[in-house]
């Protein structure tokens, strides 16, 4: 090799390396089969760091339950997964497509990811049926007839077919949350994200929502749930994740997680929420 080329190559070697690292080394082959993959994700709100070096993989059909004290970054993490918030460093991919602020594919990506919010966030000016059909009609381009048929089908699945023509504020919290689940399902999503879906509900309504979520899990949906419902977690989770102060502290299958977690903090947290 000519000496000047050699010198040039040596001078810029680190650049090449970092590009390779960004593209491949930090995102190795085995993670690409995962439907969701996060690698070394950091997230800041101003000076406050909400996520520290979080890495996590979710395979197709896997059910992941994330728990942890409030302010530990659970919600932030799943909100980064469908681009409602953007991480500052690291890589998050959904089906191999990167999620970031500049991505033009973000709306397309979100069509495959359903999200259920703590506060339901139904559209108050639309009837239940319209809430369910607006996504398929406006985003997926499904015909109105087909969208309505699909909507009624999913309302059946969440056990409230008779509420189709009411408005959201005429329904109870539990019913609203089930509509919100059906709204996401109507988009025929591959992944469902749940951000504390039962936290805003009255106690007597929690089970009706959890039952729907269990049925959904049984149908083979890929799910990531942030929740404190440990009974539900034990029933459906393939993987339990415990987060604290922006870090993933413990990742374990539920058997091990509930009986013999590795970290002391996790044990303490579980004893606090399972005590009574």
């Amino acid at each position: 090799m000519r000496s000047d080329i050699r010198a040039h190559y040596d001078k810029h070697k680190h650049l090449l390396y970092s590009q390779i690292e960004d593209g491949l080394a930090r995102f190795p082959m085995e993670h690409r089969n995962n439907i969701i993959s996060a690698r070394n994700v950091d997230k800041f709100y101003g000076a406050f760091q909400a996520l520290y070096d979080v890495s996590l993989n979710v395979a197709k059909g896997e059910r992941v339950v994330i728990c942890g004290p409030s302010g530990s970054g659970k919600s932030t993490l799943i909100r980064c997964m469908n681009g409602l918030e953007f991480h500052n460093s690291g890589i998050i991919t959904i089906n191999g497509v990167e999620v970031n602020e500049r991505s033009k594919q973000l709306p397309a990506l979100r069509q495959d990811i359903g999200m259920v919010f703590q506060q339901f966030n139904l559209f108050p000016h639309l009837t239940i049926l319209e809430n369910l059909t607006i996504g398929p009609i406006r985003v997926r381009g499904v015909s109105k007839v087909e969208a309505e048929e699909r909507a009624r089908n999913y309302l059946e699945r969440v056990h409230i077919p008779e509420q189709a023509d009411k408005y959201p504020n005429q329904l109870s919290g539990g019913q609203q949350q089930r509509v919100a689940i059906a709204r996401s399902l109507c988009m025929e999503t591959q992944i469902m994200l749940f951000d504390e879906p039962t936290s805003a509900l009255d106690p007597e309504m929690i089970n009706e929502v959890l039952d729907v979520m269990i049925e959904l899990a049984d149908s083979g949906m890929t799910m990531v749930c942030v929740t404190h419902e440990m009974g539900f977690a034990r029933k459906v989770a393939d993987t339990m994740i415990f987060m604290e102060a922006g870090r993933i502290v413990e990742t374990a299958p539920p058997n091990k997680f509930f009986t013999a977690p590795d970290s002391e903090r996790c044990r303490l947290f579980l004893s606090q929420i399972l005590a009574h």
Binding site: N82, P107, G114, F117, N121, F123, R138, V139, R140, R183
Partner: protein
């Protein structure tokens, strides 16, 4: 004794008596000092007159002006609503240039007296616009046609069309600034969760605005928008300064030719009051009805 009289305190009665005395004093001053000769009997003729040519009752100056004011208000409101919604959306845009342009427009119109805005617009822009679009000869063409009933119904005398258009546009521009602020407030009052829910089902920004945010925002701001509409009706008096033939302009003309100063202006005031007050009652009723749902 009627029930409402029993609810009056002696202080209320005192205040009413003072007011009555005040009104009486003014009345006496007008009647005596000015030596004004009331000729109320002449007013009805300036509202409706009997045309011997067509052998029917036709509107005279005051009613003509009143109808023109209603026309101008309706067209200017529609235009102001369209411009205002665009302005409100622009104010919430993520694009800095768009936001700054909207802000500039708004601040100009808000911080210059309406009369000045109207003169500037009339002498600089409207002349250019009307000449460029050749509106004048087009309108004359229609005025000469035989069956121009629809045009006459919509815009009145087509020979006056150019000045009517200037009036409508300038009024709409002026009011759109306020409509824009109302719409912006409405858009910003929609909770973040609604945007997030729309995003999470894959809706883009435009769809979110069109199907989720705007319908809710506009419903929320209907009461202040209705108020702004009433303000617009009152503001329409200003465009009499650029010779638009509406109620105030017609009254000025009438007073100049007949010297019925008090009668004409009081009648005009009553007409404006009836129009605006019934509008405000109507909106209040509509609002109550929509709350019930």
């Amino acid at each position: 004794m009627p029930k409402f009289l029993k609810r009056l305190h002696w202080l209320d009665i005192l205040i009413l008596v003072i007011l009555a005395v005040f009104v009486a004093v003014i009345w006496v001053r007008i009647d005596g000092t000015l030596n004004y000769k009331w000729r109320w009997d002449r007013i009805p003729n300036y509202i409706l007159r009997y045309s011997t040519k067509y052998e029917t009752w036709v509107p005279n100056v005051l009613l003509q002006g009143f109808i023109a004011t209603i026309r101008i208000s309706i067209f200017a409101s529609i235009l102001a609503l369209i411009l205002g919604v665009i302005l409100g959306i622009a104010r919430c845009s993520t694009n800095l240039t768009v936001r700054m342009l909207a802000r500039t427009y708004l601040e100009f119109l808000r911080n210059i007296p309406p009369i000045v805005v109207i003169f500037i617009f009339y002498f600089f822009l409207s002349e250019q616009l009307i000449t460029a679009l050749n509106i004048e000869s087009w309108a004359r063409g229609i005025a000469r046609q035989e069956n121009n009933a629809v045009w006459e119904f919509l815009f009145g005398d087509m020979r006056r069309f150019p000045s009517l258009v200037s009036g409508i546009i300038v009024l709409a521009l002026f009011e759109s600034a306020f409509v824009g602020e109302i719409v912006r407030a409405g858009i910003q009052s929609i909770p973040k969760g609604q945007h997030e829910a729309a995003k999470s089902i894959g809706m883009g920004r435009i769809d979110t605005l069109r199907y989720i945010v705007l319908p809710q925002a506009l419903k929320k701001v209907t009461p202040p928008l209705a108020n702004q509409f009433i303000t617009l009706v009152k503001d329409s008096a200003i465009i009499s300064l650029i010779s638009v033939q509406e109620l105030t302009f017609k009254t000025v003309e009438l007073v100049a030719s007949t010297r019925l100063i008090f009668e004409a202006w009081l009648t005009t005031a009553a007409l404006y009051f009836v129009l605006c007050f019934s509008l405000s009652m109507l909106f209040r009723r509509l609002e109550r009805k929509s709350d019930q749902r």
